[in-house]
């Protein structure tokens, strides 16, 4: 019998779907395998704003300007950790 997904896994799934559909124009991609969205070139001038808007709407949190740094947003694990921290905080 399979285990229910952990909170982190659920966040990761939701994010991966969004990133694939919105930032990767629907191209099937191993989003989890991307070490850096910037290095992979999938963030354009508005990509990060769109990502932040999605996070705020989906997890009902506020992302401050100071939070908008690659350390928080540049890969799936970093995003998951960031969102969990926001929800806990």
């Amino acid at each position: 019998m399979s285990q229910p997904p952990t909170e982190a896994a659920a966040i990761a799934d939701t994010l991966a779907t969004f990133i694939q559909d919105s930032l990767l124009l629907g191209k099937p991609t191993d989003v989890r395998g991307l070490a850096s969205f910037l290095e992979a070139g999938i963030i354009d001038s508005t990509g990060v704003l769109e990502l932040v808007q999605f996070i705020e709407e989906t997890w009902d949190c506020k992302v401050a300007d100071d939070d908008m740094v690659p350390d928080n947003l540049d890969s799936l694990p970093r995003l998951v950790a960031f969102i969990q921290k926001k929800r806990a905080g």
Partner: protein, 650 residues
């Protein structure tokens, strides 16, 4: 300005004039005033005429020397009067007309293939040399006028537009995936490649000969950036002013009235100002506005018109109008595009024609020749930062880039830096200036159908381009390298074609470009970069040269590139509905699958997002436009290409 077409049977069979006539009939919009056909042995030439010089005597195809030489010619040789005088005086040539067409023929008779080096103008032509049974074709230096060709069923076929070649029975009509890859990198295919399998474009500055079954192309001119000794700024400004006055005067040569576009920016204002201050020509001007305040420049246009006192007309290109015009625009474009920007220029050309004019001067070319684009500024800032990568102050200059783009300005500082960050390996790239733009555009390949994407796996457009860079490129100043890339790729491949020739000629209007006079281009190539962009002041020398020709406010305003609404032209931002039924039909999953270019699921998601009014940013807007334009072009040229043309019998 006209449409040309023709063929040479490479096996020597007699050419069919009816076929040449059919090819030209697809180009009726380029020349509604008259048509003509010529045939001699294996060659047939055809022509559609837009009568501008020598209205009564310039009919084509035209012959001289008792029919030994016959030409079909699209364009203008602006210095034809000087050449005619020389040909008469020094070579004893006798002219029967006042046309530049006849001058072209006599020039070829005297100087042979090298005649093109004597021409100052914009042209694409083909001369049938009966004695040598040889076709000599040429295209102007920078690619103002188009020339496409192919070989099919033992025949060399050529025409001003690809549709002329497609009208020949049996010629296949299919996208070239490598050409599409280039569109999804550079915004256009790089000549000789096109978006179409088997169709070639004669590159700018090249001649082509068809001789004894062989088709040979040869370069006769290219951009050069060997700078000369330091030149005082005032001297440079004075030289540029004199060149522009002469260039504009040459481009006013016509037997019909000549108008001018006024965008509200510096370049077109300078041209209108030159005409106003240095000629007796009463000037009619034309402009296009947008209902999106971020894109609209009507206030600036009004200021220029007021200052110059021109007879002005304008048109509003609403999102709805842009969308409505796009099927017709696609017919003239003949290639997928990533921006809707051609469409408002089609609307504007319609206004020109409606007001009874068929020739306009524009400011195209100034940004490329004199260093106006933000991409040059961006490269300069990035290179400056890369010299001290840990500097906290240098990247602050990035805020000076693209001030007119709200989304970019709203970007978090850390991401702005990350986006423009110079990778160590990029610093030595010959494409340093253009890598951010090309990488961004290449992200659109994510939309491609899996089998199409797989075909591109081994195709690297940048590697192909690297092999074609001119001798000496590596020794040029980085600013000159950026100028070369812009002037040899986007200028002919998109600006002068998709936004230029195709849109104007689609409404039977000829554009003329004083900044692309050969003397201006060669002078600008030798001009030190510091005169073009002084620190971060773009087109610095032009502002000095034209300071008294345009309103001071226009001289001082920051550069705003011409842009048009993209997603909103196809989907109403209020209701989310497609503005026109054809948009839903052509972007349906079934239609996308049938065209076979894009992944249907990706296209569907993009369209769903558009319906929610959620398309944002440069990449998504480009994705939507390239999806819609590709589907339209496929529909018009592959799925539903006409079998007959109404003007075929005229």
């Amino acid at each position: 300005m006209c449409g040309i077409a023709g063929l040479v049977d490479l096996r020597g069979r007699p050419a069919e004039p009816a076929l040449a006539r059919r090819m030209a009939s697809t180009l009726w919009h380029r020349g509604p005033d008259a048509g003509g056909v010529f045939a001699d042995g294996p060659c047939a030439l055809s022509h559609r005429r837009l009568a501008i010089i020598d209205l009564s005597g310039g009919a084509q195809p035209m012959s001289v020397d008792d029919g030994a030489l016959t030409v079909t010619f699209n364009g203008e040789i602006f210095n034809y009067l000087e050449l005619k005088a020389e040909l008469e005086r020094e070579h004893g040539r006798v002219f029967a007309t006042r046309s530049d067409t006849e001058t072209l023929l006599h020039a070829y008779a005297v100087w042979g293939d090298d005649c093109v080096t004597r021409f100052n103008g914009q042209w694409a032509f083909a001369i049938w040399d009966r004695r040598r049974r040889r076709l000599f074709c040429a295209r102007d230096r920078i690619g103002v006028r188009p020339f496409f060709h192919t070989v099919h069923d033992g025949r060399f076929l050529f025409g001003s537009e690809v549709k002329a070649l497609f009208s020949v029975p049996g010629v296949p009509r299919a996208f070239d995936v490598l050409g599409l890859h280039e569109v999804l990198t550079y915004w256009c295919a790089l000549a000789p490649r096109t978006a179409w399998q088997g169709m070639s474009e004669l590159p700018p500055g090249h001649t082509l000969t068809v001789d004894g079954g062989d088709v040979v192309t040869r370069r006769y001119w290219q951009l050069d950036y060997q700078t000369r000794d330091p030149l005082a700024e005032q001297q440079a400004a004075s030289e540029l002013r004199a060149l522009l006055v002469s260039s504009a005067q040459l481009r006013l040569r016509a037997d019909v009235p000549v108008g001018a576009y006024v965008s509200g920016g510096l370049d077109s204002s300078v041209i209108a100002g030159v005409v106003k201050h240095h000629t007796q020509t009463p000037l009619k001007t034309f402009s296009v506005g947008f209902d999106d305040a971020e894109l609209d420049e009507s206030t600036w246009q009004a200021e220029v018109v007021r200052a110059l006192g021109t007879d002005h007309a304008s048109v509003m290109a609403s999102g709805d109008l842009i969308g409505a015009s796009f099927p017709e625009v696609a017919w003239h474009l003949e290639t997928p595009v990533v921006r809707t920007a051609p469409a408002p220029l089609f609307v504007l050309a319609g206004l020109v024609r409606q007001r009874g004019l068929k020739v306009v001067l524009t400011g195209e070319g100034a940004d490329e020749m004199l260093g106006g684009y933000d991409i040059f500024k961006e490269a300069k800032v990035r290179r400056f930062w890369a010299k001290q990568p840990h500097s906290r102050l240098r990247p602050l200059l990035l805020r000076r880039l693209y001030p007119y783009m709200k989304n970019l300005q709203a970007q978090p500082e850390a991401y702005r830096r990350a986006f423009f960050h110079v990778r160590p390996e990029d610093l030595d790239s010959p494409f340093f200036s253009h890598l951010p733009r090309w990488r961004l555009t290449q992200q659109l390949t994510a939309l491609l159908a899996d089998d199409v994407g797989a075909q591109l796996a081994r195709h690297d457009p940048l590697e192909e381009l690297r092999a074609r860079l001119p001798d000496g490129y590596a020794s040029w100043h980085p600013f000159a390298q950026a100028q070369y890339l812009e002037s040899s790729i986007l200028l002919p491949g998109y600006i002068l074609s998709s936004q230029g020739d195709r849109m104007a000629m689609g409404r039977s209007v000829e554009g003329r470009y004083p900044f692309l006079d050969v003397r201006v281009m060669e002078w600008a190539g030798r001009l030190p970069a510091t005169h073009k962009m002084k620190v971060l002041d773009e087109k610095h020398v032009l502002k000095r040269a034209a300071h008294d020709l345009v309103p001071p406010s226009v001289l001082a305003r920051p550069k705003q590139p011409y842009r048009a609404p993209d997603a909103h032209s196809f989907f109403d931002p209020q209701t989310g509905k497609a503005r026109h039924a054809w948009i839903d039909e052509l972007t349906s999953e079934r239609a996308v699958a049938a065209a076979g270019v894009f992944r249907p699921a990706s296209a569907t998601k993009l369209i769903e997002k558009a319906r929610k009014g959620a398309i944002s940013g440069v990449k998504e807007n480009m994705a939507l436009v390239v999806l819609i334009s590709t589907q339209l072009v496929h529909h018009r040229f592959v799925a539903d290409f006409p079998t007959a043309f109404p003007e075929e019998s005229t």
